[in-house]
Amino acid sequence: MMPASAGEALLSVEHVTKRYGKVIALDDVNFTITDGITGILGENGAGKSTIIKILLGLVKPTSGSAKILGQVASDSVLVRTRVGYMPEHDCLPSEVSAAEFLTHMAECSGLPPDAARTRAADTLRHAGLFEERYRAIGGYSTGMKQRVKLCQALVHDPAFVFLDEPTAGLDPAGREEMLTLIRKTHREFGISVLFSSHLMADVERTCDRIIVLRGGTVVHSGEVSHFMKETQTVFIEVDTNRDRLLAALQARGVAVTQEAGGLTVEGGDESVYDLVRDALVDSEAPLRRIGPRRHELTELFQRDAT
C-alpha cells in the first residue's frame, strides 16, 4: 500500500452519521483530506474524537462510509500499519525507557525487530530525545512525554497521522517545539497530518486546511489562508489620545468603531490611509501600529455562536 500522491484523497468521509442511542454524535458529515496538515476544530462534544475513532476503525458509523488510504479501517486492521495516532491523554508506561517502548510499538505495527530498533532510535533523534532514550519515561517532563507520544505515532513511518490535542498541557516553549515538530512531520518527513485542537492560534500557524465541527456537523472547511484573508478594514493602535483620534476620524466622515486595543476603520483604499494620517496629526496621538486587518479563525466560532 503506497501513500497517496499529491491531490489524491488520503481520507474520505461520506455521509457519516453516528448515533449513540438518541444522541447524534455526527450528522451526515462529509469531507475529504489530501496531502498536508489539516486542522479539525470544534468545541467539546462537537464530534472530533468520534470522527477520528471512526477513521481509525475503533467505532463503526451508524451510516455512511469513512475510508483511510482507500480502505475502511474496521474492515481491515492492516490499514493501521500505515496510520499513526497520538491520543490527547497520557498513554505512556512509566517504568520503561523511551527506546524500548518505541521499539515495542514499532513491532506492534508490524516492523521486524531490527528495523523496529533502528526506527525507534531515528525517531527519537528527530524529536530531540536521542540523549534521553534510555531513561525511564516516568522521569520525563510533560514536554518530553508529549514528544514520546508523537514518536510512537511516527515510529512505523505512517502515511497519515492523527494528532489529538498535541499541545495540551504544554508551556509556551514546549508548545512552540511541538508545533515545529508537527510542521516538520509533514514538510520534512512527508507524513500527512490531521490535527485536532481547541487552540485557534496553533491551527492558524500550523495547518494548511481546517474543518470546523459544531454539534456533529461540518460548519466550515477549506484552506486556512482563505479564512485568514485580508478584510476591507484598517486597524489602528495608539499609545494615548485614542478618544481624540476617534473624534478626528468621525469629523472627517470616516466610519470607525472602537475595539479592545484600538480602532477599526472601514475601507482599505489609499484615501482612507490619507484621512487616518491627517486625523493622527490633528489628535496628536502617538501611533503604535497601523495595518490592514485579517480575519481570525476565532471569528468563525464567534460568527456561528451569534
Partner: protein, 298 residues
Amino acid sequence: MTGTVFDIGYQRYTGTREGRARSRSAVFKDGFRTALGLGRGGRAKILPWLFLAALSAIGLIMALVAGAANMFGGEGTAEKMNLPTHSDFNGIASVVMFVFAAVVGPDLLCRDKRDRVINLYLVRPLTGTDYIVSRWAAFLLVMTVAAVLPQVILFLGLCMSNLAPLKYLQTHWTDIPKFVAAGAAMALYTTTISMLTASFTSRRAYASVFLVGLFVISAPFVFGLSQELEGAAGQWLSMFSLTNIPVHVNDVIFGKVSEMTEGAPAHTLPHWILVSWYFGWVIVPGLILWARYRRLTP
C-alpha cells in the same frame, strides 16, 4: 583520525511490514517479559523470580529427600516410604502457584489499562481478540514453565540419585508426559482465572487481593462446609474448593489421589465429572475474558 557526521535527514521506511502476525508476537513477547520483570527495574523482578525460586526449591527439596532416602536406604526406599513425588507436586506447590498467578498475572492487563497503553495497541494492526489472546498465551507460558520446571528438577534429581540412572529413566519415563500434562492443566486454570479477574480492574493490587482471597479462603471454607454436609451434598459442594479443581485433574492424570485432595469428598466422584468441572472452570472464564476484550474493536 577525524570523521564527519552527516545528518542524512528523515528516511522513509522501505523494508517489510509483517502485519498482524508480528503485532501479535510483539504483544506476546512483551507480556512474557512483563511477567518476569525483564527490561524493567530491579523491583519488578523480585516477585516473579522469588516465586520461580520457591517452586524450584520445592522440586529440589523433594528430589534431595528422595535421593537421600535411596542413597542411605537402598534403591526403591523412597517409593517404599511413600515419599512425595511427581503426582504430589501440584498438590504441595498449588498454594505457591495460585499466589504466583494472583500476584504476577494481573500485571499483564492492569498496567496497560492503568497507563492507557491499551489505546495505543488498538490503533495498530491488532484486534481486541489478538491482544487478549497474546497476553493470555504469554502468561500461560510463564505459568507452564513455573509448573513444569520444578518437576524437571525433581525428575533429574530422582534420576541422578538412583544407582542406575538409565534404568530409572527406562522405568519412569512415563512420568514426563504426565507431569507436563498436569503442569499444563494447572497453568491453564490459574492463568485464565487470574486474567479474567484482572480484566475487571486497572489496579493490580485489587485483582491480587481478590484472587488470593478467593483461592486461600475458598479452600478451608468449602472443606469445613462439606464436612458438615455429609454424603452427596458434601461431595458436590467440595468441588467448589477452587484450589482443588486442577489438583483433581492432576490425580486423574497420575491415576493416584494426592495428599491434598484425599480429604476432599469430591475425589471419589467419577473422573469424567472432575475433568468436565475443570474444563468448565477454564472455558467459561476464558469466554468471558475473550468477550470483554473482543468488544473493544468492532
